[in-house]
């Protein structure tokens, strides 16, 4: 008695609705005097059949995708405390500003003279990021965090080569996000992993001993993926810099520290910012994001180009293409410009005070929720956290056979999206919780309540956890089968992949 209405004809794929001869599209009809494809193109290149696209009416179409959408969780349906993901409210005004035709209908090949507003926005956004990160300049070409990482590492690589000191290894903590090691390899480096110490922090001694003239640098997120601030950052920076290495800041956790402490002031040389996290451009079910890279002045020559600049004389913006040491382009055009518009909208809305509040309250929310849960669940590392914290279900697993995944799925039944589970890898049965600053105390209390109820159920009736979820459009899904019997496209019933 608490489900939302859904129609009788719900189908899996839009192909299941397809009926030959039906259509939604209208194309302007052929005007008189237009040459035909048959006349214009060689017969041998033309196909006889058409690709098998769905054939549906516009109503079928709209119903199908509307009903699909209604099966999906979103930040606008309820709390979404995914650790490392910063699922905060995505202000609706962002969608309006990004949709202004002057932005959304701007062609990427339009010359700067026709795109002064866009160049001005990117230029001003760069000023904002530079101030927030304590860096010198930035590029908006990287389309997401991982692309920013690769860009950053290529900049480091170019720098070292320019210094005449090419290097072959990059250090990353064992708690790092998977994109870090994957990127290190793509940048042509070897990965050397640094262990996390008993406090949940990077092992400083290990950094010191791993650093050498062969090491290009260290990638770090601070606060780290355990939600803890790397308080020895100054020493870490010293250890890296003293061997000519560079310090890379993975900005995924910037939400904890905006306006409080700046990567540049901690000693970082390169920073990427996940604008789809901290600056709340919507995640879109997995993307798009925007992962601009900001660098200190010594790395500036290597930034990807072009970069917009202001001709102080004429007051006109232009693309600075004259960057001989640049690593080159990392995107087909200028990056995910539409997301830059959204993030810019956010930054000017919040201003300095708002950004300060943001981090304070993100950290407040995380600590409050932690304080509500830590007597019942175990935190991976005790004490204050920053904007997120990691619980472990190790004890529940050992004593009651209940795993982090079971708790996660049971949260669904209680009306919450689960936290991130099984990351970071250094914590057994990890549950990584990031409430973000836009959740209210009431929501946090309800979420805590749900967690506590589940802990009780784990003792009294663990089956209910193993069988969860029961209040979702589908039950627990068989991921192993999806690999074994690979089916990644619709096929008429009875045919294979």
């Amino acid at each position: 008695m608490s489900q939302n209405p859904s129609p009788a004809l719900e189908e899996g794929s839009i192909y299941d609705l397809s009926i030959a001869g039906r259509r939604a599209s209208t194309i302007p009809s052929k005007e008189a005097g237009l040459p035909s494809a048959g006349d214009s193109l060689p017969a041998g290149m033309l196909r006889a059949d058409s690709p098998h696209l769905p054939e549906v009416s516009e109503l079928d179409l709209v119903r199908h995708y509307t009903n699909l959408s209604r099966k999906n969780w979103s930040i606008e349906v309820g709390a979404y405390p995914l650790g490392s993901c910063t699922m905060k409210y995505n202000p609706k005004i962002h969608e309006q500003t990004a949709a202004l035709p002057g932005f959304s209908r701007l062609h990427p090949w339009q010359p700067a003279e026709q795109a002064q507003g866009a160049l001005a926005l990117i230029y001003e956004m760069e000023q904002l990021l530079v101030e927030i990160t304590g860096m010198a300049r930035a590029s908006f070409q990287p389309a997401a965090g991982a692309a920013g990482e690769l860009t950053g590492l290529l900049i480091m690589r170019a720098y070292h080569r320019a210094q005449g000191s090419p290097r072959d290894t990059v250090l990353i903590p064992d708690s790092a996000h998977g994109t870090n090691p994957a990127t290190v390899r793509l940048a042509g480096y070897k990965v050397k992993q640094i262990p996390t110490d008993g406090r949940g922090l990077v092992d400083l001694e290990a950094v010191r001993s791993a650093m050498s003239e062969n090491v290009a640098g260290l990638m770090l997120t601070n606060p780290n993926t355990l939600g803890l601030f790397e308080r020895e950052i100054e020493e870490i920076a010293k250890a890296v810099h003293s061997k000519g290495g560079l310090l890379y800041y993975d900005g995924a956790n910037l939400n904890a520290i905006v306006g409080i402490i700046r990567p540049g002031d901690m000693g970082f040389d390169v920073v990427h910012i996940n604008m789809h996290k901290t600056f709340t451009t919507p995640h879109g079910g997995g993307g798009p994001g925007s992962g601009p890279v900001a660098v200190s002045s010594r790395l500036e020559p290597f930034l990807p180009g072009p970069i917009p600049d202001l001709d102080q004389g004429t007051g006109r913006y232009f693309w600075d293409e004259d960057r001989p040491q640049s690593i080159g382009r990392v995107h087909g055009f200028y990056g995910n410009f539409g997301m830059v518009v959204r993030a810019y909208t956010y930054l000017i809305s919040l201003g300095a005070d708002g950004l300060h509040n943001l981090s304070e309250r993100a950290v407040l929310n995380a600590n409050y929720l932690r304080s509500r849960l830590e007597d019942t669940y175990q935190t991976a590392h005790p004490g204050l956290c920053m904007h997120e914290f990691v619980l472990t279900a190790r004890k529940l697993r050992r004593e009651h056979g209940v795993r982090a995944m079971d708790i996660a799925k049971r949260l669904i039944d209680k009306g919450f999206h689960p936290p991130t589970v099984y990351f970071p890898l250094v914590v057994e049965e990890a549950m990584m919780i990031e409430p973000t600053e836009t959740e209210s105390k009431q929501t946090l209390d309800a979420l805590a309540q749900a967690f506590l109820e589940i802990a009780a159920e784990a003792v009294d009736d663990p089956e209910v956890l193993h069988n969860a979820p029961v209040r979702s459009p589908v039950g627990r899904l068989d991921e192993a089968r999806a690999v074994r019997q690979l089916q990644t496209r619709w096929r008429p019933p009875g045919t294979g992949q």
Binding site: G12, S13, S25, P28, L34, A37, L41, L46, L53, L68, S69, R70, N72, W73, I75, Y80, L100, F103, R105, P108, Q110, P111, Q114, A115, G117, A118, T179, P181, V191, F229, V258, D265, P282, G285, G286, G287, I327, H331, G332, Y334, F337, G338, T345, I348, G354, R361, L364, S371, I412, H417, F423, T438, K441, V474, G475, D478, R481, A482, L486, T488
Partner: protein, 441 residues
């Protein structure tokens, strides 16, 4: 406005529960000496209406395709985006959800992307499609990785007639992995591949950046003869009329999915299409949605083959991609369902018709010629009697956007691309050509 809900009382109660006095105390792990110690120099918060007005003014500083009639091409096109597509893809459940790591709460996104993959297989003639990459350039770059991994080779023969920006991306990202990119000339509009021995892949556009149609079947034979893969960068809009690259022998098909219902957006967010043969499935980059069943045997979708990905495989992952362009894939899924097979064909017909009309008329302007003889689909290279970049500026003053100019290619300073989508009309083509005639006179 910072969108935080905290009242004074909330803050007091929360601090109390945590057991600290002030919010400041929560930041005690951060060394004092490193802290900013001042407010950021960003200005004060603004109300929504002020913010809107400010962005409105910035947008108004652009002369975008709402004010210029668009004949520009070069990898981004002014196709009409149906209202139904915007409405469906704009549903906030698609817009504000995260990556579907919890599939039970993500059947909407997963279902839409599954259908996207299915349609991309149909368009490309491939067996498996990913859920989308950053853009066409990123997709091409990933295809090179796949080919290198599949063949164990480092040399890649790239047609000169691919988007010069994409080529720069390959160069930037390939250097550190020691790829050797060899340019195959396309002086007559189509590519002359020459020697492709030892190549991991050959890369060709269909249509290519000049709008010209290549002999993909011959390229496939050449590649396969040398043990290389054929990577085709295709135009999704073309395959209502043209054979799909898969049919012609491509091993990996990539493309830019902006045209599939996504806004021009000054170059992004766009959508990298990536599809290949099943044998390469485990070398694919990024996310893939697969069908499965739940504990009750009911059908459902999940992310699959995740052991390729960075969050599982870390430095051994096939790619570093995490956040991708899912919403654009959802949009493309809706758009292609809207279009259907007849729509795709009619749209292609109209593009061909208008583009050829434009070419016919432009070719008659004094001192102008259609640069290449090769057949073309919805854009062509026009050679002017003078500098193309300057002509484009003058044309914009008349209300028309064409281009880009092709100074990136040696000896083509006087050349530009002219593209026509199904949105354009015969009258617009005629008027634009008339303006162009005046501009170059």
């Amino acid at each position: 406005m910072d969108y935080t809900p905290h009242t004074e009382q909330d803050i007091a109660e929360m601090l109390d529960a945590i057991g600290v006095e002030t919010i400041e105390d929560l930041f005690s792990p951060i060394p004092q000496n490193l802290r900013l110690g001042r407010r950021l120099a960003l200005g004060g918060p603004k109300s929504e209406s002020e913010v809107y007005d400010q962005l409105y003014s910035l947008a108004a500083m652009n002369t975008a395709t709402d004010r210029l009639t668009c004949f520009a091409g070069g990898g981004a096109y002014d196709h009409y985006i149906p209202a139904a597509v915007r409405a469906c893809a704009g549903r906030s459940e698609f817009m504000t959800s995260y990556t579907p790591y919890q599939p039970e709460l993500s059947q909407g996104v997963l279902g839409a992307v599954f259908d996207f993959q299915s349609m991309i297989c149909e368009l490309t003639g491939m067996e498996i499609s990913g859920s989308g990459l950053y853009d066409g350039a990123a997709a091409l770059n990933e295809a090179v990785h796949l080919a290198s991994a599949a063949t164990g080779r480092k040399k890649v023969v790239v047609s000169q007639a691919i988007n010069p920006n994409y080529r720069r991306v390959l160069d930037s990202l390939g250097k550190s992995l020691n790829y050797e990119f060899v340019t195959a000339p396309a002086g007559r509009g189509v590519t002359d591949f020459g020697d492709v021995s030892d190549a991991a892949a050959i890369v060709v556009g269909q249509p290519n950046f000049f709008g010209c149609l290549e002999d993909v079947r011959a390229a496939a034979e050449l590649a396969h003869g040398a043990g290389a893969l054929l990577i085709v960068h295709f135009d999704p809009m073309s395959v209502g009329l043209l054979e799909s690259p898969g049919t012609l022998g491509a091993d990996v098909v990539v493309g830019e999915g902006q045209c599939l219902g996504n806004d021009l957006n000054f170059g992004g967010p766009y959508l990298g299409i990536f599809a290949t043969r099943l044998e390469h499935a485990r070398r694919m980059p990024g996310r893939i949605v697969g069908a499965t069943v739940d504990v009750h045997g009911n059908p459902g979708y999940v992310l699959t083959l995740q052991t390729r990905e960075q969050h599982i495989r870390r430095e051994k992952a096939t790619s570093n991609v995490c956040t991708d362009q899912t919403l654009m894939a959802v949009t493309a899924s809706v758009y292609l369902s809207w279009l259907g097979p007849s729509g795709l064909r009619e749209l292609g017909e109209r593009c061909v018709g208008l583009t050829h009309l434009a070419a016919d008329l432009a070719g008659q302007l004094p001192g102008c010629r259609v640069r290449f003889d090769a057949p073309f689909f919805r854009e062509f290279v026009l050679e002017l009697p003078g500098n193309a970049r300057e002509a484009l500026s003058a044309l914009a003053a008349d209300g028309y956007l064409a281009g880009p100019s092709l100074e990136a290619f040696p000896g083509m300073d006087n050349c530009l691309l002219v593209a026509a989508t199904e949105r354009r009309t015969v009258a617009q083509v005629e008027q634009m050509i008339k303006s162009l005639g005046q501009v170059i006179a």
